[in-house]
């Protein structure tokens, strides 16, 4: 790096009475500024670098700010990247929370009325809600993840396939148990327990993979709720699943929203410090 005796250009130009666009008053006449019509808008740092004259830059875009401004720029860009490439926990937890709360409530209401097995339409509504949440999840993750390749995409793909494989096997196990003559009650307990066990285990694994504590905690919670539901038996188990399971998702979503808001408030504060 050059040591031409000038201060590192990161210092606040306003501190010594210079205009805020970073243009020092004592600009060396020897700079090889190409005649592209915007000589007053260059950062001094690039003056000592070669000028190829081919960069058509927007006004002010290539100017350095003071250190606080540059740090704020880094933070806000990191926030933009996070929102643009990583799935939103609150959004996904919220979608599944609503699906579970409404779906299991329908099963519970129908199950208590029928004294045992919920009606076919109740299972249809439940299934439709779960499929909607699944489609929403897939579209959301796909939109955020598109355009990024490499190590994290491979991790995401393996994780996605884990869900598909596990649920395919749950289906096979349930088919086998039904063929062996399991009663309606056994099928209800087993289908819910197995599915929830897969969800819980994969949430815990996902939490470990991405160091997401809320996701891990949700996995633990879902496992406990599913265990309790198995002991309780239908139809009361569906009320437990709706309130504690769906409620757990919604609580996770709310906690995520609070953390997100606090994070963006912190970013806004650094921005205020940077540009008083």
């Amino acid at each position: 790096m050059g040591s031409n005796g000038r201060r590192p250009d990161g210092m606040d130009p306003r501190a010594n009475g210079e205009p805020a666009n970073g243009e020092p008053a004592d600009r060396e006449p020897a700079n090889r500024e190409p005649a592209n019509g915007e000589p007053a808008n260059r950062e001094p740092a690039a003056d000592r670098e070669e000028r190829d004259g081919e960069d058509a830059l927007g006004a002010g875009e290539d100017l350095p700010g003071d250190p606080a401004e540059m740090l704020a720029l880094i933070r806000s860009q990191q926030d933009t990247v996070r929102k643009g490439t990583e799935p939103s926990g609150p959004l996904l937890f919220g979608a599944w929370g609503v699906a579970w709360l409404a779906g299991y409530l329908v099963l519970y209401v129908s199950g208590t009325q029928e004294r045992g097995l919920p009606a076919g339409w109740a299972f249809a509504v439940f299934g439709l809600l779960l499929v909607s949440a699944m489609v929403f999840t897939g579209v959301h993750i796909g939109r955020r993840a598109v355009g990024v390749r490499g190590a994290s995409a491979a991790v995401g793909a393996m994780y996605g396939w884990s869900w598909a494989v596990c649920f395919a096997v749950v289906f096979l196990i349930l088919s086998g148990v039904a063929r062996a003559g399991a009663s309606d009650e056994v099928m209800q307990i087993l289908s819910n327990s197995l599915s929830c066990l897969v969800v819980a285990a994969l949430y815990m694994a996902g939490g470990a993979l991405w160091r997401e504590w809320r996701m891990f905690a949700l996995g633990v919670w879902i496992a406990l709720v599913a265990g309790g539901a198995a002991l309780l038996g239908p139809p009361s188990s569906y009320l437990l699943m709706a309130v504690a399971g769906g409620g757990g998702f919604l609580l996770g979503a709310a906690a995520g929203l609070v953390v997100d808001r606090r994070r963006s408030r912190a970013a806004a504060e650094t921005a205020t410090v940077a540009a008083p």
Binding site: M1, G2, S3, R7, P8, D9, G10, M11, D12, E43, A45, A46, R48, E49, E54, D55, A56, L57, G58, G60, E61, D62, L63, P64, G65, P67, A68, M70, L71, L73, I74, Q77, Q78, T80, V81, R82, G84, T85, V146, G147, V148, R149, G150, A151, S152, A153
Partner: protein, 100 residues
């Protein structure tokens, strides 16, 4: 003690934003040109110019490939670029501390 030097290659808002974006991705990840453009909210020509400068400094690697039959460009931060970004961030922080 002398003040830390700020790397002139990334001590410019546009290129700092590009490098900060790439550094926010996981190590070993690469991003498509349109996605990068969207995250940066820059014109394609502008982004190409900055990427060329960063590539000359060996801070980023640009890979031209095919997605099916259509050409696609993927950009990644090199380990040299990641090091430069981390040094730059550390220098900014020490400048801020010195100013207080």
């Amino acid at each position: 003690m002398s003040e830390p030097e700020l790397d002139p290659v990334i001590h410019a808002q546009a290129r700092l934003k590009v490098v900060a974006t790439l550094a926010s991705l996981g190590a070993g990840d690469r991003i498509s040109f349109p996605k990068l453009q969207k995250l940066l909210d820059m014109t394609a020509g502008n982004l190409s110019t900055h990427l060329r400068k960063l590539e000359e400094a060996e801070y980023v690697s640009v890979e031209k490939t095919f997605e099916g039959r259509s050409p696609a460009t993927f950009i990644a931060l090199t380990s040299r670029g990641r090091y430069a970004f981390e040094s730059y961030t550390a220098a900014l922080k020490s400048l801020l501390k010195g100013a207080q």
